[in-house]
């Protein structure tokens, strides 16, 4: 893992916040959304839908977690 997961925090109640977590594949650099349930199981490998590389969340180029 090149850097620690970034965690999104909600702003003011009237400001838009998203609800999706995204990860970036270290192989092809493409982003894809991942669910919180999957991220809660750090031993399950993520699967890049673009280049089909499998990697642990801890090894993602970037991981931005919602909430």
């Amino acid at each position: 893992m090149s850097r620690a997961p970034e965690v999104l925090r909600p702003g003011a109640p009237w400001e838009k916040t998203g609800n999706a977590s995204w990860t970036q594949c270290g192989h092809c650099a493409n982003w894809f959304p991942v669910g919180g349930e999957l991220l809660a199981r750090p031993q399950v490998k993520l699967h890049c839908p673009t280049c089909h590389t499998e990697f642990l969340a801890a090894d993602a180029a970037r991981l931005i977690k919602a909430g």
């Binding site: 970034e6 400001e15 998203g18 977590s21 995204w22 959304p33 919602a66």
Partner: protein
């Protein structure tokens, strides 16, 4: 009586917006008029844009805003087609004009494309606005300048001095000029110059026969009606089918006693289908320009504005290119201050604001109502809005932010699920495939 307007409704129902030209219209008293009627001239946004020299109606808001901000002064001519025929005094006969009775409940024939031009007696500055006129007799018609309108203000100033108010009504011109004179201006501010900006050349004016250079008229109009509005005389006017799609109530309106009618030798009478796209499109496109300039001043990320005819004049869709924090709300707040608007919807530039399906998609999937909408009460609005509460003088308005949240950092995606899509080359291939299929004979499902 209602045949021509009915034709517009029937065409609209089928999604057709051709110009309607009637060569032998029947007058209210049954006579056949020698003067043809043109209507539905501005029912199509594409056609109105083309008349303005704009290739795509979807880019009209910014262009219109830019042109009205760069006025071009008019020129005065003495060769005026609109004065080829001059009819004065007892020869005047308004009932010979092929004015239509449009809707059930309208009391008689109305001029619907009459541009009333008055001037501010203090500054001499002209004002022009479309005002309905009910032809009551050969030389008298009521006309209805809304209480808040600039023409009403001018009239009240003349009346306050103890004078009758001079007025001319001109009918029929190039659609670009019709659009140009609908520019939403301050008071007092010349509509002739604003019109010149919109059409990109000086508007040709001529002195009116009755008022000389006090009131100029467009030299290339089809018909001009000149008269005075006698002080403090009010008569019943209406009910009248309005832009809201409802019949406005009967009101106390000033009258115009007509002194003179001038026209082209081959004059065409122009009618606007009130409440139809024919009348909504040009006014809404002018509104788009105004709303664009108001909102752009506070929100540089604003990229486009659409005032859809299906929202009458009450709804506006605002499109943004990566709005910064607060920017969509700033823009919508500014837009809602504009008179008739009572709903502003903000969307990103992946949403086609000219497609209600897309706007509804954004509303359905990008909005949590308590978080993303706000209402503002007590703003000025249209008293013709049929939902106005009893006794209210102001309105309740709403803004909905249907944009997506911003990416958390540069290069990162927005923190929302990605929108489903098929590859653009596959989509193009599919469209090509369909275009070659003969669907005639397919069952109606």
């Amino acid at each position: 009586m209602h045949a021509i307007t009915a034709l517009q409704y029937a065409l609209e129902k089928q999604g057709l917006r051709p110009i309607v030209y009637v060569t032998q219209p029947r007058l209210a008293d049954g006579r056949i008029s020698k003067m043809p009627v043109v209507t539905n001239l501005t029912a199509s946004r594409a056609l109105v844009a083309r008349a303005l020299g704009i290739n795509d109606h979807r880019s009209a808001a910014a262009i219109y805003a830019g042109r009205t901000a760069a006025p071009v002064a008019p020129v005065v001519t003495t060769t005026a087609p609109v004065q080829e025929i001059v009819i004065k005094g007892d020869e005047v006969d308004l009932t010979a004009l092929p004015a239509l009775t449009q809707h059930v409940g309208d009391p008689g024939p109305y001029l619907t494309a009459a541009h009333a031009t008055t001037y501010d007696p203090e500054t001499g500055v002209d004002n022009t606005a479309i005002q309905r006129c009910w032809i009551k007799s050969k030389r008298r018609m009521t006309y209805y300048p809304y209480p808040a309108s600039h023409n009403n203000r001018n009239m009240r100033k003349f009346w306050a001095k103890g004078d009758d108010c001079p007025v001319v009504f001109w009918i029929g011109h190039h659609p670009a000029v019709l659009m140009g004179t609908q520019a939403k201006l301050g008071y007092p501010q010349s509509h002739w110059s604003a019109c010149g900006g919109v059409i990109g050349e000086p508007l040709r004016l001529v002195r009116s026969v009755t008022f000389g250079d006090k009131i100029m008229v467009p030299a290339d109009a089809e018909i001009v009606i000149e008269g005075t509005v006698p002080r403090d005389v009010l008569e019943a006017d209406g009910p009248f089918g309005e832009y809201t799609g409802y019949s406005g109530p009967q009101v106390a309106a000033p009258v115009c006693d007509v002194a003179c009618i001038t026209m082209r030798r081959d004059a065409i009478y122009h009618d606007y289908g009130s409440g139809l796209t024919d009348m909504l499109v040009p006014d809404n496109m002018a509104m788009e320009g105004k709303v664009y300039s108001i909102a752009k001043a506070v929100a540089p990320a604003l990229s486009n504005v659409y005032v859809p005819a299906q929202g009458r004049r009450f709804h506006a869709y605002l499109q943004f290119n990566n709005p910064g924090p607060g920017e969509a709300r700033d823009a919508m707040t500014a837009a809602l201050a504009y008179r008739r608007l009572k709903l502003a919807v903000a969307v990103d530039d992946d949403i086609d604001i000219f497609d209600d399906n897309e706007v509804l998609f954004a509303l359905a999937t990008r909005v949590q109502w308590s978080r993303d909408s706000f209402t503002l009460d007590g703003l000025s609005g249209s008293m013709l809005d049929p939902s106005t509460p009893m006794g209210a003088k102001t309105h309740s308005k709403m803004a909905v932010d249907a944009t997506l949240p911003l990416p958390p950092s540069p290069g990162a995606p927005r923190p929302v699920p990605p929108r489903s899509a098929v590859p653009s080359d596959a989509l193009e291939a599919a469209a090509k495939l369909i275009s070659g299929v003969n669907t005639q004979g397919w069952p109606t499902l």
